[in-house]
Structure formats: C-alpha cells, structure tokens
C-alpha cells in the first residue's frame, strides 16, 4: 500500500467513525506507521528492533461534555469500543462552559516530508550506517554507542465539522556517544531523508571530540562565559518552550509569559519562532486537530509575542483561530509549538571561541530539569565534551559541571550567535551561542 492509498484508507476509516458515532460532535485522529531502530554499543549492534503500529484517538462532545479514548487498532470493533468509552466519559463529565465546538476545516499546505527510499531502508542499510560510525570510532581507538532510527507513517484527522486531512512523513535520527579512554564525544544527525545524513561525518565528529576530551582537568564551579554548541542551545530552547510557550499553562497563569505578552522577557538578541512548514525542520502540514501549521513568532527581539494554542485555548483567549499547535486530544497538556527555530547572528562557532577570553565550550547538556517554572530556573550537567577556552583557543578538556541558571536571564546575556542554524533532535533549529557568566554550581568526578 503506497502512502496515497494509506492516507485514503485512514480518511475512509475516520469518516466511518464520525458517521456512526452517536455523539453531537466527533473527531478521530488516526495513525499507521512503522518504527525501526538499530542500537549499538561497544562498537557492535546490541539491539535491532522494529514495530508496526496503528492508533486512534477519538474525541466526542455530548453537548459541552467531552470524552477521549484511544485504541491500538483500526478495526471497526475496536474503534466502536473507543467511541463508546469516549461517550461514557462524556456522560460522566461536567459540561465545559467555554467549549467552542470542534474547529471547522481550514486549508492546509502540503509539505514534502515523505521519502520513499527512507521508508524502505532495510535492516542492512541501518547496519551499514552504524558500521560507518563504528569505523570512525575505531580509527581513533574509541568505542561507539548510539542509534539509527527510521520512522515512517501516515496521519489523518477527520471530524464531524468537515475536517478531513491526511499526510505522511519519514524521519531519521542518528546519534552517537563515543568513549575514548576517559574522553567522550557526541554527534548527531536529523532529517526526513536517510540520504541527507552522512554517517561517516557523524562518526568522525564524535570521535574527534572524544579523542580531544581525554584526560579532563577539574575546574571549580563558578560563573563562566560559555560557547554553547547547537545541541546545548536546543536543550534550553526546548525547556523554555515547555515552560513558556504552551497555551494551557499561559491561560492558567502558570507560564512565565502569563500576563507578559508584549513585554521584554529576555535580551534583544533572542528571536524564537515555530514553523512546521519550513523545510529546514521535520515538516508537518497540520496539527492534531487538523488545523494548518503556520509560522508563529514566540519571542521577537526579547519581547514575548505569543504562545501556541489549540482551538479550545484560542477561543478561551479570545482568539478567532488556533495557532495550529494542538497536541493529540489524549494529551492533558493540550497544545505546544513543536518545530522551534532560533534566529542566528553573524558569527560562527570558531569565531565565538576565538572571541572568548576565558570560558567553557559545551557540547551538550544532560538531564536538564526545572527548579522554578515561573523564573525559568533550570539545572543540568554538561556531557560528552566540555572544554576550557583561554585567549580564544580551546586549551583542553575539563571535567563536567552542573549549571543552575535562569534561562531567560541567561539568554539576555548572549553576546554572539552563529549565522548557521543546525537542525537537532526535538526537532529544533538553532545557532551556536556565546553567553556571558553562566552559573555553574557543582562539579563531578569525570
């Protein structure tokens, strides 16, 4: 079955669910896809897995009372059961006084997110990819761990208001952590097409970093100017999104942006937007309510501009239309921008390092978590390549450190951004940054 046929089938199943549902309003989100992942460690493959899955999320409204149920089958019986469960939930619920009804159809743009060659890539193709990374590790006498993941699938949304949209996409994510003695390095690649990723380059990048990070010296905790590579920047931007850019938390007063739209929240260097239609990310044409994706400016030159909404939150916030940020109805979080971009500057990673008198170069962060959601205080560790920079040169590796930092404040201290934007896992498209005086609050033994 090709993607056009699969999309048509999902739409047909969705129409049947909507037509046979006893609810006043019915929406069904349907997915059909496959996920393959080859995982390696110690320079050999140790897990090689795949699964084919379908799922459906049924949302019904009985008057203003709502119910949601999910199923892992697209068979009529399973979907009828899901509708019945959703109806039972709706009957047990109280009416949602602000319920605006399901959204009406809007025109969506097609995005070229499906690559047939990627979808058909074999287990041997993934093993070849892993082998190229491992070969790069061996050249540096390093040991590679990592994963090559390929997903392909189709998604459809059908509702009783006339929404009927479907699309298909492929996604490839590859990453490796390399150990070289007591050194560690990291590299990754993300694309909709397997052919876009260069396994050897990913391997070489991680191996080089691992080799360079051997015999790290301890440096004390304290404030350091830092050069953050894109993976580290993305960690901050994505946590910021989770804290600040969701319409539900904003509406409930739990977001640091609550009551602050139009106000300065960080430095002028910071412009962040969401755009699932941009081919530089993993494109998506509509959200999980079937509403069109669009470009949404979240922070512009340090000013909070907007948050992501679904139809319900948009109406609660007196907006006519959602921003196309709906999550599946089964998610209690409701809405979130998922395709973030951060504007770059006029520098590059090398120049950011050369312009640093004394500071740290950070490859990425590990286990970031939230200490104070309203103040955007995060903590986390550096990982897989942290280096001391002195007088514009990387002088050597250092042991990892813990940072504890107010991220909106820290982004206000950016004094350099790379022109080049990099797609990293998330997806998130970001520059490298230099940030003054980031607070490191602890050290570790490696």
């Amino acid at each position: 079955m090709n993607t056009a046929e699969r999309e048509a089938r999902l739409l047909e199943i969705g129409r049947r669910v909507v037509q046979t549902s006893p609810a006043d309003e019915t929406e069904v989100l349907l997915a059909d896809g496959r996920d393959f992942l080859t995982r390696f460690a110690g320079n050999q493959i140790h897990q090689n897995v795949g699964a084919e899955e379908v799922w459906a999320v049924v949302r019904v409204a009985a008057g203003r009372r709502l119910g949601v149920a999910t199923a892992s089958s697209l068979q009529p019986g399973a979907l009828d059961t899901a509708v019945a469960s959703a109806m039972a939930i709706a009957r047990a619920s109280e009416g949602e006084k602000d319920w605006p009804g399901l959204p009406k159809p809007r025109t969506t743009k097609k995005v070229g997110a499906y690559d047939e060659a990627t979808a058909e890539a074999s287990a041997d193709a993934r093993a070849d990819f892993a082998a190229a990374i491992i070969a790069a590790a061996r050249k540096k006498r390093a040991e590679a761990a990592g994963a090559v993941e390929i997903e392909e699938g189709s998604l459809a949304v059908v509702s009783s208001t006339g929404v009927a949209v479907a699309s298909s996409d492929t996604r490839v994510q590859a990453h490796t952590v390399m150990a070289c003695g007591d050194g560690s390095g990291y590299a990754e690649g993300v694309s909709a097409r397997l052919a876009d990723l260069d396994a050897r380059r990913i391997g070489q990048q991680a191996a080089l970093k691992a080799a360079r990070s051997r015999k790290p010296e301890a440096v004390p905790a304290g404030r350091y100017d830092v050069v953050l590579e894109p993976a580290a920047v993305a960690e901050w931007v994505q946590h910021l999104s989770y804290l600040a850019f969701g319409g539900k938390d904003f509406d409930e007063g739990r977001s640091p942006f609550s009551g602050r739209l139009g106000q300065k929240v960080t430095g002028e260097q910071v412009t962040i937007w969401d755009n699932a239609l941009d081919r530089r990310t993993l494109p998506q044409s509509f959200d999980y309510e079937g509403m069109p994706k669009q470009r949404l400016t979240l922070i512009e030159r340090g000013i909070a501009k907007a948050v992501g909404t679904n139809h319900f939150r948009a109406r609660r916030m007196k907006k006519r239309r959602s921003t196309g940020s709906a999550l599946p109805a089964s998610s209690g979080y409701e809405c979130l921008p998922l395709h973030l971009f951060m504007k770059g500057g006029d520098s590059n990673l090398g120049q950011l390092i050369r312009d640093t008198k004394r500071g740290l170069l950070v490859t990425r962060f590990h286990y970031t978590n939230i200490l104070d959601p309203m103040k955007t205080v995060l903590t986390g560790m550096t990982r897989d390549g942290t280096f001391l920079v002195e007088n514009g040169e990387v002088v050597g590796p250092v042991k990892n450190l813990r940072y504890t930092e107010n991220v909106l404040e820290a982004l206000g201290r950016i004094d350099g951004l790379s022109r080049r934007l990099t797609l990293v896992r998330g997806p998130c498209v970001v520059p490298a940054l230099r940030v003054r005086e980031v607070q490191f609050t602890g050290t570790t033994e490696f």
Binding site: L37, T38, R39, F40, A41, Q44, I45, H46, Q47, N48, V49, A51, E52, E53, V68, T70, A71, S72, S73, A78, A82, A86, I89, A92, S93, E94, A123, D124, R126, A127, A130, A131, E143, A145, G146, A147, E149, V177, A179, A221, G253, R254, G332, H366, Y367, N369, L371, D372, M374, G380, M381, R383, N400, R402, T404, Q439, T441, G442, T444, E445
Partner: protein, 480 residues
C-alpha cells in the same frame, strides 16, 4: 492465544533462532484529572499486540505488531530474524544467555477492587470532593488525579516456558498550586507528579483519604508563597519518604542496572560509576545503609511474578551495611559478573523489547524509630519534603534535587517553613553521610510510574520502599 504462541515458537526455531520468545500483551489505562472541582481530562486507552524476540547467529532481533492474529506470525518472526541477522554482521561477542529452567505458571496481582470495575462516576466523585476541599486566597489550581493500569500478558519461549500474568496497578493524589507576585508554589499529597501508585486495586486510592488531607495541602501551598527561600549552607538534612524514594531511584536504582553498567545505555542516559570491579567491596554508603531489589514485595509498583524473559521474581541484596554487593541483571548480562539473572527484564508494551528495569529497590528500615523520633534526635537541621525537581549526571554521581517544602529543625522540633529548597552531592559521599534510618514503623512503599529508559523510549512503573533517613553535612542550596 496458545496457537499463536506455539506457532511463533515453532517458526522461531525454523528461522534458526538459538533462543526466542513471544509476548502477547494487552494493556488498559485509565487516567482521570479533576481541576478546581470539575473533571478536566479523562482518558481511556487500550493497546494490544505481540512482539517476537529472537537470538540468531548470536545477535538479537525484535519485531512487534498490532496485528493480533495467527496469520501475522510468520511475517513477524521473519522480520525479527532479518533484524537479528543484520545485527550479527556487527556482533563480535555473540550473546550467551544465563541458564534458566523454563517455567509454566500463572500470576495475578492481589487486589480487592478492580479499578476499572469501579464506576467512573464514583472515582470522579472522590476526586471532585478532594479538589473542592483545597481552598485559599492564592490557590489558582486545585487538582486531583487517578490512574489505573491493567496488563495481561502471555509469554512463551523456545525453551518451553509458558507464563500468564495479570498485573493490576492503581494510584492517585492531589496537588494545590498557589500563585502570587510572580511566584508559583505547589504542594502535593501523597506524592508529587500525580500522587502515589502501587500494585493493587482501587482500595489503595480510597485509603489515601485525599479529601481529609486536602485542606492541609492547600494551607501548605499558601504558606510556601509567604515563606523565605531556603538559605544556602552545609546542613544536616532529613528526607521524607517521597523524596528519599526518588533519591534511591536516581542514585542507586539506575546505577545498578547491569546493561547500563556494561555500556548498553551509554548513548541515551549514560553509564554508571558502579563498575563490576567494585562489586563486593566498594563502600557505597555508611553501615546504616542496606538496600535490596525485591520484585516480590507485596504492593510494590515494581512487583510481578515473572520478568519478560520468564525469570521468577526475586529479592537481590544490593547494598549490605554500606557495601555494594549486587546488580539488577538479565540472562544476557548476568554472565558478565558470573551470576544468573536477577529477573528484572521488563518491556513497556508489546511493541518494545524488555530491558533491565528496577523492580522495588528498597532502602531497608533502620533503628531510628518513627520520623518524630528522628526529628527529636536532631538539634539543627532541615526536613525536606516531597520531590519537586531532580537531575543527576550520566554516571549517577553528581545529583541535585529540589523539594516542594522544607522545615527547619531546631532543638529536635520542626520550625519555620522554607521554599525552593535544593540539595546536591556526590552519590557515595552522600550515602556515606547517612547516620540514621527510621525503623519498620516508618517504612512505606512509593511508586514511580514514569521511569524512562531505552531507545525507542520506554516508561516503566517501579517501586521503592523507604523509611525517612538523616544525612550529615549536605550542601543545601546553590553557592552564588
């Protein structure tokens, strides 16, 4: 079911598998959230399918499908075997499994009230009442939660194992969020992040007395808004059960996973400082620290009859009088330390391979009596209550935790309330500074329903039994 299992085993052997197993699994999940006295989000989900795992040419392959029908078996086995052969191209050390006598058995979680049989209206009524009982001038959100899980699994292996399991889990809790002046403070009961969980039925949720505890929880959230931030310094601290459970989880539970120790999780969450050369002699903590992994613990969220390799649930000593003595292991990893599997392989669903997961990693009770006794025995310290934030490095050494609430202890009595408390340390130093653990009368089980691991990601429900404990000379807060 039996026909599908038998057919899968037969086909796995025909495909050249030296070992293979198949799991048919059906999961049901119900999640209820009430906000400000009204049902906010109610969701039911069902998932069913089967997964086949084969060892061919010394390498693993796995494939899972939602097509729960005999006609799919041949294709699924073929795909799993193809995957194994591709992996074998890059496998220098063939997988060797620790021996196991195949079991033919049935297991079911003891429970009195099936959480899915309790009417939705009844469960909502409890949550609505609890939510309405949380009030205060700055209280912006009064939330109450329930979750039920029901897992039925049929397992078969090419070695002849045939195991049926039915696991029932339930839990819930309340949370009060107070917001004023740009500050947000949350108090939860009995634990943060949607409450506490167990293997058992709805009776567990009823026994929480969510409605009775609600006014106190709301008052504490309000009090936190007015409280000063916890001062920085080296302090004596006492951790309550909920926070200590997560401390055990992050700084003991994860670093004793033998797959992680052997580097198999390096590219995701990291490896471990507890390398095999430390086994049997490394001082992990003070002589007061005794830890065991116990999948047989009644009511623990990590309790089951057999793991997903068919290994019986068991109790494994991990730390004895402060000395590190054991790992969580699997049939594949146990030979690396010259042992047999400790029975900890679990998958999050039919579509995932089993991984080494925590069972109930328990800090065993000490001799410090009740919590009140431990506080009375402390001249100058802080009592840290209910987890708010957690972070730990990729070898599980440097950690930092934040708690919802902190109480000063002066002269053996609880004093003023502080907010935004954090503490940090290095794992063996921290556990080495443990000088008292409360007794069996203070020991309770805590469920962690959201333990993440693996690629593709898996979420496991695991447990931790703890009594509150005291630690000396701990860094509290952040040095500016």
């Amino acid at each position: 079911m039996k026909t599908l299992l038998d057919r899968a085993c037969e086909l796995m052997k025909q495909a050249g598998a030296s070992y293979g197993d198949v799991r048919i699994r059906q999961d049901r999940h119900e999640s209820l959230a009430v906000k400000d006295g009204r049902p906010e989000h109610i969701a039911m989900s069902e998932s069913a399918g089967f997964g086949v795992r084969v060892l061919v040419d010394g390498a693993w392959g796995f494939f899972g499908t939602h097509r729960l029908e005999e006609s799919a078996v041949e294709d699924v086995v073929r795909q799993a075997a193809t995957m194994a052969r591709a992996a074998a191209r890059l496998t220098e050390k063939p997988v060797v499994l620790a021996p196991l006598a195949p079991a033919v058995a049935q297991y079911e979680t003891p429970h009195r009230k099936d959480p899915f049989a309790v009417p939705l209206e009844e469960k909502l009524a409890l949550l609505v009442a609890a939510s309405k009982a949380m009030r205060g001038p700055n209280l912006k959100l009064a939330q109450a939660f329930f979750a039920g899980f029901d897992t039925r699994q049929h397992f078969a292996s090419t070695e002849g194992a045939r195991i049926e399991q039915h696991i029932v889990q339930a839990g819930g809790g309340i949370a009060a969020t107070a917001i004023a002046g740009g500050d947000l403070q949350v108090r939860s009961y009995p634990n943060s992040f949607r409450g506490n969980f167990c293997t058992g039925g709805y009776e567990y949720v009823e026994a929480m007395d969510l409605v009775g505890e609600a006014p106190r929880v709301a008052e504490e959230a309000e009090a936190l808004l007015a409280a000063p931030p916890c001062p920085e310094g080296r302090r004596t601290i006492i951790l309550d059960g909920g926070q200590l459970a997560l401390q055990v989880h992050e700084s003991c539970g994860h670093p004793i996973e033998l797959d992680r120790v052997l580097g198999m999780e390096l590219s995701y969450a990291g490896d471990s400082f507890l390398t095999p050369d430390k086994l049997g002699h490394f001082r992990y903590g003070s002589p007061q620290v005794h830890i065991a992994a116990d999948a047989t613990c009644p009511g623990g969220l990590g309790t089951f009859g057999y793991d997903d390799e068919g290994v019986p649930a068991q109790r494994t000593p991990i730390v004895e009088a402060g000395i590190f003595v054991g790992y969580l292991s699997s049939r594949e990893t146990a030979p690396a330390i010259g042992r047999t599997s400790s029975g900890t392989m679990r998958a999050s669903g039919w579509n995932r391979i089993p991984l080494i997961r925590m069972t109930n990693v328990n800090l065993l009770p000490g001799a410090a009596g009740r919590l009140e006794d431990l506080i009375a025995d402390t001249d100058d310290g802080l009592f840290l209550v209910t987890n708010k934030s957690w972070s730990i490095d990729n070898k599980r050494l440097n950690f930092q935790f934040g708690t919802e609430m902190c109480r000063e202890i002066q002269g053996g009595r609880l004093g003023r309330v502080y907010k935004n408390a954090t503490y940090t340390g290095i794992t063996p130093e921290f556990w080495g500074a443990c000088d008292a653990v409360c007794g069996p009368e203070a020991w309770a089980l805590w469920g962690t329903p959201n333990c993440g691991k693996g690629e593709p990601g898996q979420t496991a429900r695991v447990g931790h039994g703890v009594s509150p404990a005291r630690f000396r000379n701990v860094q509290v807060g952040v040095k500016a």
